[in-house]
Symmetry: C2
Subunit: 412 residues, 2 copies
Amino acid sequence: MPVLVMKFGGTSVATLDRIRRAAKRVGVEVAKGYDVIVIVSAMSGKTNELVGWVNETSPLYDAREYDAVVSSGENVTAGLMALTLQEMDVPARSWQGWQVPVKTTSAHSSARIEEIPPANIMAKFGEGMRVAVVAGFQGVSPEGRITTLGRGGSDTTAVAFAAAFDAERCDIYTDVDGVYTTDPRVSAKARKLDKIAFEEMLELASLGAKVLQTRSVELAMRYKVKLRVLSSFEEQSDEAGTLVCAEEEIMESNVVSGIAFSRDEAKMTLVSVADRPGIAAAIFTALSDGGVNVDMIVQNISEEGRTDMTWSCPVDQIKRAEVAIDAAKKSGELNFDDLIADTDVAKVSVVGIGMRSHTGVAAKMFQVLSNEGVNIKVITTSEIKISVLIDRKYMELAVQALHDAFELDKRA
Amino acid sequence: MPVLVMKFGGTSVATLDRIRRAAKRVGVEVAKGYDVIVIVSAMSGKTNELVGWVNETSPLYDAREYDAVVSSGENVTAGLMALTLQEMDVPARSWQGWQVPVKTTSAHSSARIEEIPPANIMAKFGEGMRVAVVAGFQGVSPEGRITTLGRGGSDTTAVAFAAAFDAERCDIYTDVDGVYTTDPRVSAKARKLDKIAFEEMLELASLGAKVLQTRSVELAMRYKVKLRVLSSFEEQSDEAGTLVCAEEEIMESNVVSGIAFSRDEAKMTLVSVADRPGIAAAIFTALSDGGVNVDMIVQNISEEGRTDMTWSCPVDQIKRAEVAIDAAKKSGELNFDDLIADTDVAKVSVVGIGMRSHTGVAAKMFQVLSNEGVNIKVITTSEIKISVLIDRKYMELAVQALHDAFELDKRA
């Protein structure tokens, strides 16, 4: 029988009632003849609670223990979902990551899936089981310890299963009914997209649009997994939600397809560092080794052989960055006056594959922001996106102005 | 280095502060030179929450999924305890049941430990790790699925580790400071015992004194594990708490050493069943196959070839019992008028190894209850205990009267 992967996020399984509603959706697909792999997140709030406990216990925690703790929420949902399906007379059982096994790297708390052998689950499908409920977000390292894939990792679990089982489609059920031109909570004019290209979704995901985890979109693109984002709170047709697909499948699109933003960025500046060859390498190797995900980088003009180096990174990695830079200072690799963290910033980005064939998008973006009196602190660009770091208080204003200027409320 | 096993129950790890306090106790033993195996329960309330969800989802749940869900609480505590110890610079790591592995039978939700290979943990002790934190209550079946050992199973985990690692002692930290002659909440005259024999503890445990799980005492007796029950909320000397030990190590004791009671029993009566050879076997085989733990049994005098059969079992197994008996009726194995469940009963027991050499304990017990106007519904006895089933409303009265009559407030 054809395999379908269905993933339910935290809000979609937040209560026993919602688990029941999700199970009914699964039942509909089973009735159509699919063998279904259901990937579940933890009930919403649970993972945050666990992460809070870990942080309070040990601010610079051992990531192996972090993983052992925070992976437990998904196990609960998986078991409850299997029981709910059984109550509906759908043959189902739960699987934890190590039972499948979902083999990952040893990079605890941000592990990558390396292999998902389908044999165990396929054997059960062969015996008449119709639904395999798998705890998302988790796997097992070569050393036999529990790993997690980073926040939002259940999306990646879902796409990886879709690839490993050659699934017909991977449906991501969430609390929104699709991918929007921007967050409707920030702009009332935000419009749902019927289709979006993998590349665009990738930029949106990595830029803070929290609909899908970045890694899941990368995987879907590489393995050509048809990915659909849809709401678990509405009755659904086969055309509901937003289909994330190859560029060729999209006939018409706006030059800019979406505006993304993120409040979770911090700007860090290393003040008066010696400007010598290899200094950037010294700084960013130290940060990388310390587990800091650096995004944007700016180096000031050098004065008297010294310069300031600025970068952005997730707010919750400031402490790690400070520890890494301190260690480099103590070992004599770095010499500087001060390390300043600014958390009062936000990143705003415009994204669209149309930018490849249209010029002037950047100029228009900067003009719009200038008209609103918004100062740009840092800029980065890629082939299909332009990002700026601005004062956090201007974020909503900037998003709304850009959404209007690029006419995203109108269909192409 | 000698190995010590320390087990912390749910109330001892109920908050991050309490986990820290428990970790300090562990640190004291590490400083003395022990390699320590710490067994942890779920934070108090967590397992009940999980069990509640399972019961609400599926009243006649698949026990394999029940185990997958309810075992998750211990994983959280194990990781948090390891992190807390690491923060105190004590080399520690957590282990889940399947990682050790704690090999059990496949009897889900009441599995028995079959083997705990010490190699993995001993290797880590050899590398300088000082504390192995193990999630209690759980193991892994030959089929690779998660099992649990039944409520209170972490005690059994602790004793099994003490046996497998030839530990010097197994300390059970709990919210009481030892084993009492009866529950101090029921009788203000209850007295803490310095020592109690395995056999007595076994009767007390199985009779509802919730200090230790029955199975853990059986294991300790078989493998001669020195077992100590003590409070995690007080500063402790080496002589604190109650030592559960072999009879020979106790010089003097009262004839009766304790009064146990249980409110979790139900009385079930099968009304007007055909009195023929094999009828008891038919009934109790059905109940056993249905997973019902029958305790007391009484058969009424037969009238006109029909009789009533009465038994007691845990309150939460009534539904299972009804299903099992119904099935037996439908298959034609049983024929009866009615099945009545009475949950308004309690079991009260007097226990003491001194009863082996002293007569008249039963007579005295029945006289005391009679003097108080308490009607006895069912009686069972063993070599060292006498149990009666009575109306629940008389339970406290009965316990207090028996405690006085056998002078348990006075040391032997």
